[in-house]
């Protein structure tokens, strides 16, 4: 792999950009690998990268039904933050933020991590109490989060509407300055390039149709539309389709798959300098480096695999956005789309071993998995390589739904679920 640098850019500029290599190869699948990862999204590719980098396991295949990064990795609103209430969540999301901070250097790929600040608006006394509790909990865990008065909110984000006549007036906000955004596609591409460089096979258009088991129940490989592939360890990182894949191994999951929509506006000049979230009016917005307003909505109410949702959900979100930013009222929306998110009952992920020997699962990230991509891949690689969870993901088991030891971010609602 040739290193990307300002000198490489200058060199290629002199010769009409004819010297750029392919970023990753597309090899034919081998009959056997040490580890198979099902799903080449950000989390799956990150898992493969850290398996190779930190655990020396390079005989790895990442199998992808469609194209690399074409699922929720390419469909989210790219928000990064770690201001979760519970210690377990703080551990894993903060692990990810720390990796985000050095990720572009680590991968030699500009993932455009921009710590522009994530501001969560409070509209009523309940919000104020909840956010202040979050701020204190975060600070006890060493995570930055601070309270802003309405005046400070306006100073941090000038276009916001502070009018007392607003239907939901803004009476403060919690701000995590290290939160921000990254370029979602570049994250998948950067991990793919760096993993392929270390010998990982990325096999696209290869759909897993079955999980092969030995008579003693242990995993011995997978069936695909390109033939069987053997591996003693299989990691399922299939987001909305996790229930489908796990069903092939006879494992039922505490998951439901919902459509989650997002949309972008026409590009305009820089206006919104940070990420704004509001749980109460249920909307979140940031401005991409291209100038588009990137807006996220809530999930539809019914389970579905359709990768599309109802227009009334988007309408509801835009009502809230126009209320917070009247200046955006005349903006045209260019595109909207849906992804399928796998939601657990407590809205916390599952990164764990399964009842089937050799089968591992990383799922349940629901509406907020992008922010965790590096941390999730990092600890999941540890779980697969050592056959035991990392200290950080040890609480995120499937068994917690039987023991009752939930990590109930659903109730804590640090996120606009």
């Amino acid at each position: 792999m040739r290193k990307y640098s300002v000198f490489a850019l200058a060199r290629e500029a002199m010769r009409a950009h004819k010297g750029w290599d392919q970023q990753w190869s597309s090899p034919e699948p081998k009959p056997e690998y040490d580890v198979i990862i099902v799903g080449a999204g950000g989390h799956g590719l990150a898992t493969a990268y850290y398996l190779a980098k930190e655990h020396g396991i390079t005989n790895v295949a990442v199998l992808e039904k469609g194209w690399l990064g074409g699922g929720n990795t390419g469909r989210n609103t790219t928000i990064i933050r770690s201001n979760y209430l519970y210690d377990e969540s703080a551990g894993i999301y903060e692990h990810a933020v720390k990796l985000w901070e050095g990720l572009s250097q680590d991968l030699n790929y500009n993932v455009m991590y921009s710590a522009r600040g994530v501001m969560m608006l409070a509209h009523n006394i309940h919000d104020v109490q909840v956010f202040k509790r979050h701020i204190h909990a975060n600070r006890l865990n060493g995570i930055d989060n601070e309270w802003l008065t309405p005046e400070q909110v306006k100073e941090f984000c000038p276009p916001i509407n502070l009018s007392a006549d607003a239907r939901y007036p803004i009476i403060g906000a919690a701000l995590q300055r290290r939160g921000g955004t990254a370029r979602h596609d570049a994250v998948a591409w950067g991990y793919a390039r760096a993993a392929a460089d270390r010998g990982v096979h990325i096999i696209q258009n290869c759909e897993v149709t079955g999980i092969r088991r030995a008579p003693n129940g242990a995993v011995v490989g997978v069936d695909t539309n390109r033939g069987p592939i053997n591996a003693k360890k299989v990691g399922v990182v299939a987001a909305g389709h996790t229930s489908v894949i796990m069903n092939m191994a006879g494992v039922r999951m505490p998951l439901e798959s919902y459509p989650l929509q997002a949309l972008v506006s026409e590009p305009v000049k820089p206006l919104i300098p940070c990420v704004i979230m509001s749980n109460t009016v249920h909307a979140y917005i940031s401005q991409s480096d291209k100038g588009e307003m990137v807006i996220g909505a809530g999930t539809d109410q019914y389970t579905s695999y359709s990768q599309t949702g109802g227009l009334h959900i988007i309408n509801h979100t835009l009502d809230a956005i126009c209320e917070m930013f009247p200046v955006l009222t005349r903006l045209k929306m260019l595109r909207s789309w849906g992804g399928i998110v796998d939601v657990t009952p407590d809205r916390s992920p599952i990164l764990a071993k399964t009842p089937v020997s050799g089968l591992y699962v990383n799922c349940g990230w629901g509406t907020g998995g992008f922010k965790a991509t590096p941390g999730s891949g990092n600890v999941f690689a540890h779980t697969i390589a050592r056959d035991e969870p990392h200290r950080i993901n040890a609480p995120f088991t499937i068994e917690r739904f039987t023991t009752g030891r939930l990590i109930d971010e659903a109730a804590a609602a640090a996120v606009a679920h």
């Binding site: 229930s243 489908v244 505490p254 439901e256 695999y305 227009l311 739904f401 039987t402 023991t403």
Partner: protein
């Protein structure tokens, strides 16, 4: 937005009048105290979440207020049928057979049409 037929009101109404209530035909053990932890977790949290035909509950919350069940394809989001709470699970093979799709069939077996507002990709 889905168009949903309420089997009590016998009318197609927009999704906004309804509240989805999750997987149908989950039966709570009686007496629940004798159920194992694993079985109770299965009842409470573990779901089939199928890609394809699924049985689900809806409540006509801004209408008659009653719960009913539906069979819906989770890929196309099209409803195959709706039926009242307490009625047995309909036989999917007859719902999918060509005879059931015939327009000349009596109204009781007529499939309610579900339309969906397309969102541009």
């Amino acid at each position: 937005m889905l168009l949903i037929k309420c089997p009590y009101c016998e009318e197609e109404r927009p999704e906004l009048e309804f509240r989805n209530a999750g997987e149908a035909h989950l039966v709570r053990a009686n007496p629940i105290i004798e159920q194992s932890d694993d079985d109770f977790a299965g009842f409470l949290y573990f779901r089939q979440n199928p890609k394809g035909l699924q049985f689900e509950r809806w409540r006509h919350i801004h209408g008659c207020g009653r719960f009913f069940n539906a069979v819906r394809d989770s890929v196309s989001d099209k409803f195959l049928t709706v039926y009242k709470a307490g009625e047995p699970r309909p036989d999917v093979s007859t719902l999918l057979s060509p005879a059931a799709a015939e327009p000349a069939e009596p109204p009781v077996t007529k499939r309610p049409r579900a339309k969906k507002v397309e969102v541009s990709q």
